[in-house]
Amino acid sequence: MRQLSRRATLALSAGAAALTLTGWNSSAFAAAKEAADDIAKFTGGKTATPGKISIELPEIAENGNTVPLAVTVDAPMTADNYVSDILIVAEGNPNPGVATFHFSAMSGKAEASTRIRLATTQNIVVVAKTSKGEFFTAQKQVKVTIGGCGG
């Protein structure tokens, strides 16, 4: 068998890298679109203003099976002005939906935390709805070393 020249090897690996990249991009694109649909359904087509939300997530998650997530929305939480719902979507998961939290004025704080599964490195998007019908959004990227969706 003829030995591959250094140049040929480089070209091959570059080609392979390009292939995997495009493959990954298209699936990520589809999931991101589904995530966008979920958000549109939640907001009823209104645009969410960035801000007011803080997302606590590790920058790098070694194990995608259980990633701690905490969401806090800056809101007074009084009877006539509180955060009623929070939607969490993971753009790179097979099903982008993660959870929807519903609060009441009795919640005291618009804050909740849980542990989530992440398939791959991706953005987590959080959208909050207030009792006045305003929408706020924030997002954060997590790098995942080992995905958490089995296979």
Binding site: N65, T66, V67, A70, M77, A90, N93, P94, N95, G97, V98, A99, T100, F101, H102, F103, S104, A105, M106, S107, G108, K109, E111, A112, S113, T114, R115, I116, R117, L118, G148, C149, G150, G151
Partner: protein, 107 residues
């Protein structure tokens, strides 16, 4: 497979306090994405809904998706104005419901 949920919240509080409640429900949260060794998909089985009520009024509810990790852990807060009972409900995909109650004294 009704396992006992774990709850952590104060037994006593002052009127108007915002208390922190932690819950953990032992459950596999099978996502429906996994395949067994024969290549067949393992059917989805998760807790899809969690609710917390105080004296019959809703405090916090959550709709959960397969992206919630096994043994779903939820932490949230509640503002207490009077003594009473927190009631927690977990609903499984198969329709079974697990409930738990915890009393709090508010002074």
């Amino acid at each position: 497979m009704a396992e006992k949920p774990r709850l952590k919240l104060p037994k006593e509080a002052k009127k108007g306090d915002v208390i922190e409640i932690k819950t953990l429900m032992p459950h596999v949260m099978e996502s429906g994405q996994r395949k067994d060794k024969d290549g067949k998909a393992v059917p989805r089985k998760i807790i899809n809904k969690f609710a917390c009520e105080f004296n019959g009024k809703p405090v916090f509810t959550a709709n959960l998706e397969p992206a919630i990790a096994a043994n779903p852990y939820l932490q949230f807060s509640a503002k207490v104005e009077e003594s009473g009972t927190f009631k927690f409900t977990w609903t499984d995909d198969d329709g079974s419901v697990i409930t738990a109650e915890e009393k709090i004294t508010v002074s």
